[in-house]
């Protein structure tokens, strides 16, 4: 990432000004909207006079909708409408003009790159949530027992604050390869050659290069899993643990037979939440390999067809596939989360 520096001082001041204006307009616009709309409602149905009771009831029925309206409108424009348009576009040609029936879907199923993406997505789906949840659980259990646990937690959580692109750049440097004769600057190759290995171009190694990308997401998501699971572990009643100590359970038995079963619901929620993130994974692949060398995933495939192939039909078809895969997991996840908080 190169940051533009020279001769753009004014432009940057302008950007900051725009940002400030946006924030002010946004915040005060919201307050103003609620205030004014509320005022108008009270004018139309005044809570006094001969029909005060009827007016209060009517205003009470309308008010929630008044307040929900902005959110509903924005969700409609930016979430619901695109879904329908995507479905529509997926049945049309590259420019969205001619109806082509299921052609895009047929093409997709026979496309080698799509199959590669599906396969890779499945690998991501299995590996990343499993690894993140497991490492997060271990980190949560271990950091609760050591004195510098809070510091360790902060360090493990830190990657959560880094954008996917930023994380990808960091890890790209770790995987960096320099041709023979030059000094290796990538940490992985440095370690590898120090151990007597031959420097590798890690990101082009077929089969394993996808895992090198997955590790980036695991690195990010472990912190998330740890924080949630740590809270869950602390919520376990102390007495059940003491009872199991008296029952003669070893620390490992306590962990796997007493603690983990009691937070099983939370583990599932963490797992599925990460799963949804994984299905949408895009930035990491785009930044590190752009889907080359057999690392393509669905979201990047969609992006490729949309902005490089200029084919709204095929891009939308890929988008629909992603949505179909995410939806059931999301519904299940929301239900589970609701059950947990009940």
């Amino acid at each position: 990432m190169t940051v533009p520096v020279i001769g753009e001082g004014e432009a940057r001041v302008e950007q900051l000004g725009m940002a400030a204006v946006t924030i002010l307009v946004g915040v005060f616009g919201c307050i103003g909207y609620f205030f004014v709309s509320n005022l108008i409602l009270d004018r139309i149905y005044p809570a006094s006079g001969p029909q005060a009771g009827r007016n209060i009831n009517r205003a009470g029925a309308i008010r929630p909708w008044l307040f929900l309206m902005p959110a509903l409108a924005l969700l409609g424009v930016y979430l619901v409408y695109p879904v329908f348009v995507s479905v529509w576009l997926s049945f049309h040609d590259a420019r969205g003009e001619t109806f082509v029936g299921a052609d895009n879907y047929v093409w997709l199923i026979n496309d080698a790159k799509f199959r590669e993406s599906m396969w890779n997505n499945l690998m991501w789906l299995v590996f990343v949530p499993a690894a993140s949840t497991f490492l997060g659980l271990v980190a949560a259990a271990v950091t609760d027992r050591i004195r510098w646990g809070n510091f360790a937690k902060a360090m493990i959580f830190m990657p959560m604050a880094i954008s996917f692109v930023g994380a990808a750049v960091i890890w790209k440097l770790i995987y960096e390869y320099r041709p023979d004769g030059q000094e290796q600057i990538g940490v992985l190759n440095a370690v590898w050659t120090a151990m007597g290995g031959q420097a590798q171009t890690w990101l082009t190694l077929p089969g394993v290069n996808s895992f090198f990308l997955m590790i980036v997401l695991v690195w990010i998501q472990t912190g998330f899993a740890m924080v949630i699971l740590s809270a869950a572990l602390r919520g376990i009643p102390e007495e059940t643990i003491e009872a199991s100590i008296l029952d003669g359970a070893s620390p490992l038995q306590i962990f796997f037979k007493i603690k983990v079963p009691q937070i099983w619901g939370t583990i599932l929620v963490v797992w599925t939440t990460i799963t949804i993130t994984v299905l949408k994974v895009f930035d990491i692949v785009l930044t590190m390999t752009n889907g080359q060398w057999g690392t393509q995933v669905l979201a990047n495939l969609m992006y490729d067809w949309m902005f490089r192939g200029n084919d709204t039909g095929r891009a939308s078809t890929a988008a629909i596939i992603i949505m179909l895969m995410v939806t059931p997991i999301m519904i299940w996840n929301i239900r589970n989360a609701a059950k947990e908080t009940r």
Partner: protein, 362 residues
């Protein structure tokens, strides 16, 4: 099924000693109740016996073996927690099996143990339920069952009835008493802040206060012959009345002139040298009776509480002195705002000097 011996046991958190000089000899088959106000360390002491808290001083022996550093599971104890502490993800059966499975007992042994415990506690129909599908009383029975299947030498109960409602508490209390009768060989230690539980269950009560043992004795011993004012007031409800006074006549029958103007006679003997000694007399509300003669106490009834079987009279405070309470059998209407004179049988009048009972001064 074992003796316990505590010698100079103490517990300190850093510099702060919460328990010190705990000396106790518990015989096999006893049901010992630790009782005391909250914060007196009774639960801490129990947890030290269990091994959940480290013993920072003194020795604890179970069956003649020093167990200070023996891990909890190998001490031969089982504990029932106030909050039941059932494993929520396991059925009743699995809860009871857990310890046996950890101990790698054979399948037959496990099944036999669970069945027996379930039969004793009438839990057989519920064996395949999860704890959340049980009532509070049933949960507590499962917790007890979990202890029974381990066949421990010593049972520890940490306020096991506190989470139950009043009616269930009485029922479960009786169940525990019956359980004890079925297992006369077992040693049990029971922590409670409820003196009714202590009085009804204990073979001996240990009253803990101020980081140490205040008195050890059978329930009636504590009631009839309290060693000090704390025990006197802690056992019995409402608490024993304490009235300040001065010894004016000594001998087998001691006469005390009270600061409130009354005169009390106590069957606790005193010597001539005790003449003029500042004492507190202690007299239980239920031992006070109305009198026409010489009264220990005369006062105006401020509030009455009619409970049917008894009527509680709360007298107007006189200066700094604590409120005097009398408990008269039966129903007494219309005593409010009237002046009542009270006395008590000399055999029921306790004498305390500087907080200690004169009964125990030799």
């Amino acid at each position: 099924m074992a003796d316990l011996k505590l010698v100079n046991v103490e517990k300190a958190y850093g510099e702060v000693k919460v328990l010190a000089n705990i000396n106790l000899d518990i015989k096999q088959g006893e049901l010992i109740v630790f009782v005391g106000p909250s914060g007196c360390g009774k639960s801490t002491l129990l947890r030290m016996i269990a091994g959940l808290e480290r013993i920072t001083g003194g020795t604890l022996e179970i069956d003649g073996t020093l167990v200070n550093d023996v891990p909890p599971a190998q001490r031969g104890i089982a504990m029932v927690f106030q909050s039941y502490a059932l494993y929520p993800h396991m059925t009743v059966r699995e809860n009871m099996e857990f310890a046996l499975k950890i101990a790698k007992k054979s399948k037959d042994e496990i099944a036999a143990g669970v069945d027996k415990a379930a039969r004793i506690l009438q839990l057989t129909p519920y064996l395949d339920r999860l704890p959340k599908a049980l009532s509070g009383g049933q949960r507590q029975r499962v917790a007890i069952g979990r202890a029974i299947v381990r066949d421990p030498k010593v049972y520890l109960f940490d306020e096991p009835l506190s989470n139950l409602d009043a009616a269930l508490r009485v029922a479960t209390r009786i169940e525990i008493a019956q359980l004890k009768e079925q297992m006369p060989e077992s040693t049990m230690i029971y922590v409670t802040h409820d003196q009714v539980e202590a009085m009804t269950l204990a073979s001996r009560i240990v009253v803990l206060a101020g980081g140490g043992i205040s008195q050890v004795g059978s329930p009636l011993q504590l009631y009839e012959r309290p060693e000090n004012e704390f025990v006197a007031q802690f056992i019995g409800s409402p608490a024993m009345n304490l009235l300040a006074g001065e010894v004016v006549e000594t001998g087998p029958m001691t006469v005390i002139r009270l600061e409130g103007g009354g005169t009390a006679r106590s069957a606790i003997p005193t010597q001539v040298s005790d003449l003029g000694m500042k004492v507190n007399i202690g007299v239980r509300p239920e031992d006070l009776v109305e009198t026409m003669d010489q009264a220990i106490f005369t006062g105006e009834v401020e509030i009455t509480e009619a409970l049917g079987e008894v009527t509680l009279l709360y007298f107007k405070r006189q200066g700094e002195a604590a409120q005097v309470v009398a408990k008269l059998p039966g129903i007494h209407a219309g005593l409010r705002h009237r002046s009542v004179a009270l006395t008590a049988d000399p055999g029921k009048v306790h004498l305390f000097h500087k907080g200690r009972s004169l009964l125990y001064r030799h």
